[in-house]
């Protein structure tokens, strides 16, 4: 019944969509890892911080990429959930509840994720976010901590 009304995408459509979105997701996921891991873990202070994210996401181009990643990943994954529902849940009533839940999850998490990206704002002018410092391994001598404070102040 939900199928006739178009709330339950058919197997054929999902089959095609999984392949097209899967192809796009490979590229987006590689970029995601390059941006959240390699641009920070390997080259900068080692911890992904608000500033690292802001440096990239202050540009509308990167926001657009992030939004398409969000929408494609959610659509791809939740259509997979739809397929699983069609395979395992045969009772009409249960199926309706399950399909409805998937739609609600899609909308809630789609809106939530988009709001996060679209409402990002840099730190208040005149302040910088808290810096971070590595605490395991070799203990940091006091002078070095001093130096870190200095850098923060110079950066302002």
């Amino acid at each position: 019944m939900l199928r006739e009304k178009g709330f339950e995408p058919g197997g054929q459509f999902i089959w095609f969509f999984h392949r097209v979105s899967g192809f796009a997701l490979v590229i987006l996921l590689i970029l995601h890892f390059a941006w959240v891991h390699f641009s920070t873990d390997v080259t900068s202070d080692g911890l992904l911080t608000f500033n690292d994210v802001m440096n990239r996401l202050s540009s509308p181009f990167f926001k657009a990429i992030d939004l398409s990643f969000l929408v494609l990943a959610l659509a791809h994954g939740l259509m997979g959930v739809m397929l699983s529902i069609q395979d395992y849940i045969k009772r009409q009533g249960l199926r309706m509840i399950a399909v409805g839940t998937v739609w609600i999850l899609a909308i809630v998490f789609g809106v939530w994720g988009s709001v996060t990206i679209l409402t990002l704002k840099p730190h208040e002018p005149g302040t910088t976010p808290e810096p971070v410092r590595k605490v395991t391994g070799v203990p940091q001598p006091a002078e070095e901590n001093q130096a870190l404070w200095q850098i923060v102040e110079d950066g302002q």
């Binding site: 490979v26 992904l48 998490f109």
Partner: protein, 135 residues
């Protein structure tokens, strides 16, 4: 007649299980990314993810992602680029690439995990957010 493990069925279940696990991860991920609204709390959260336990979980996540992505890429190659006559080759390439990627991740993640186990500090961040440092 002999019984054989049906590798096709196994691959299907693996792909479905990893895909559904990634959906759950994505929900949690959208929640944790939403903390970007408060920079200090975002940095605290990222510092927590630098602890041994989370690095271990991250390695598991990498395994799940790599398994799903490479099997997915294999399916696409077989369906769209007529790679079906070279199925075996495609399969071994996927397994080889996947192993290398997970090994690379393990080299980066496991030292912190072992540190945490030997010091008993599974949840202490290896980074500290310096409060009040930025004014």
């Amino acid at each position: 007649m002999r019984y054989r493990i049906r590798t096709g069925a196994l691959a299907f279940i693996l792909h479905r299980a990893t895909g559904l696990a990634l959906v759950l991860y994505l929900f949690v991920h959208i929640f944790s990314v939403s903390r970007l609204a408060n920079p200090a709390s975002f940095n605290e959260e990222m510092a927590l993810y630098s602890s041994a336990l989370f690095k271990f979980v991250e390695l598991g996540l990498l395994g799940v992602v790599v398994a799903h992505v490479l099997n997915g890429a294999r399916i696409i190659a077989v369906d769209f680029w007529g790679a079906s006559r070279k199925q075996a080759t495609v399969f071994y390439v996927a397994v080889g690439v996947g192993t290398l990627v997970v090994l690379y991740g393990a080299i980066h993640l496991l030292p912190a995990v072992f540190d945490g186990i030997s010091s008993g500090q599974l949840l202490s961040p290896s980074y500290e957010v310096i409060h009040g440092g930025g004014h």
